[in-house]
């Protein structure tokens, strides 16, 4: 086995092009578990740990915060992300433990692409854009096109996720997650709700209740057609509960070792209702 510790992005991209068997490693919080338990036996590893260019947060495009794929959650949970994209900071703070948050990153969440990835619902609710580079090309893909299934994405072997662009939305946003305890937990169900006061709409995306993250377009449309969603409005309990029921109906959970489909559907109805009430209280 070979380990290539890249310091420059171009070194890592060249290594991917050269080695068809190469696997990328950033914080290692997913991949090292598989290696420790002999579930995978990689032959070539390309480490992105020391690529400083992936660890920057940029705000040079107006209305966009661009977060490098290697910025650890321990940084994302604080400023400047906390004020600009509070739901992302909240979601990052629910990841694992302080030790995991010091290592894990958005690039890892996207690379693994599990429906339980904590930050993915935030990307879906905010229509994040994913930057992918190869040695000689670049493309920017909407998160809605990026994730194609359970641990499946459109990322090609020779591509590296370099940054994630988050539109800055004026209004309230929040993230909630249900798990068996507070720390160190993989979500049983999660939801991110964004109230866009400028455009008077609400978006909601659900995690752990389908093969991909689910954006509840029908519930969003129902809410927008029946309520005034601009700043300073309030939402009745009945409307919030109906919104929760509709969001749960759009989810498509399964029974597995972490929970049951029935409980997950119930959890989504509660999370969606609560988040909406918090947004318009």
């Amino acid at each position: 086995m070979t380990v290539i510790v890249a310091k420059e992005l171009i070194t890592a991209l060249a290594a991917l092009r050269e080695h068809a068997d190469a696997r990328l490693i950033q914080g290692g919080t997913d991949l090292m578990v598989e290696i420790n338990f002999n579930h995978v036996k990689p032959t070539t590893m390309v480490s992105l740990r020391d690529v400083a260019a992936l660890r920057t947060i940029r705000t040079d495009t107006p209305g966009i915060m661009s977060i490098g794929s290697g910025v650890p959650y321990s940084v994302i949970e604080g400023e400047p992300v906390l004020t600009a994209i509070p739901a992302l900071a909240q979601a990052s703070r629910t990841v694992g433990s302080p030790q995991i948050r010091a290592a894990g990153s958005l690039g890892g969440n996207l690379g693994t692409c599990s429906p339980a990835g904590d930050t993915l619902p935030v990307m879906f609710a905010l229509d994040a854009m994913i930057h992918l580079n190869t040695l000689d090309s670049r493309r920017v893909v909407s998160i809605h096109d990026f994730m194609t299934g359970v641990k499946r994405s459109v990322r090609q072997h020779d591509e590296i996720i370099t940054a994630i662009d988050f539109p800055i939305v004026r209004g309230w946003q929040g993230y909630s997650k249900v798990g068996v305890r507070n720390a160190m937990v993989i979500s049983v169900a999660s939801a991110c709700l964004v109230a866009d006061h400028e455009n008077a709409n609400v978006r909601i995306a659900l995690g752990s209740v389908g093969p991909t993250i689910i954006r509840c377009r029908e519930s969003e449309a129902w809410l927008q057609s029946s309520q005034d969603l601009s700043a300073g409005q309030s939402i009745s309990l009945d409307v919030a509960n109906e919104f929760g029921r509709r969001a749960a109906a759009e989810s498509s959970p399964i029974d597995d070792h972490r929970s049951t489909a029935e409980y997950r559907r119930h959890a989504i109805s509660v999370l969606a209702s609560r988040l909406l009430r918090k947004a318009y209280q």
């Binding site: 578990v33 290696i35 420790n36 740990r49 694992g96 995991i100």
Partner: protein, 161 residues
Amino acid sequence: MSANEFYQLRVNGKTHQVQDSWVGESLLYVLRERLGLPGTKGACEQGECGSCTVLMDDAAVCACLVMAATAINSEIVTVEGITTESALTDVQQSFVDEGAVQCGFCTPGLIVAVHHLLEKNPQPSEFEVKEAISGNICRCTGYGRVFAAVEATIRSRNAVK
């Protein structure tokens, strides 16, 4: 770097040669089995228990989730490196005094996590202490004695000032 090459790690201020190892080994395994530093404990090997907590470039991380060969440019501090003399640190002494060491398996990880917390935040709130050690699982103490040890350390450090 390939499988049979040597690589170097900076651990506790010294440069160590790692040799005759498989380059996919975790930092936890390398520390314990290659470098003779068994203070860092291994339990879950999946980042859930925190007993292998070490400092890497001044961040507390799980050594089991670090591929050692990717850490060649990092400064690593283990529980052995937290003190230079043979004496216990004030955090370690407080753990002893308050009965926060029972079976002891989680202790080195907790010691590293608490040292790291108090370094960054000398006057943490109760919530901040809880959050800082939320990745360190202790099945003996119920955490009450661990919190007491952290409080005792803070009290004694404040008294010295």
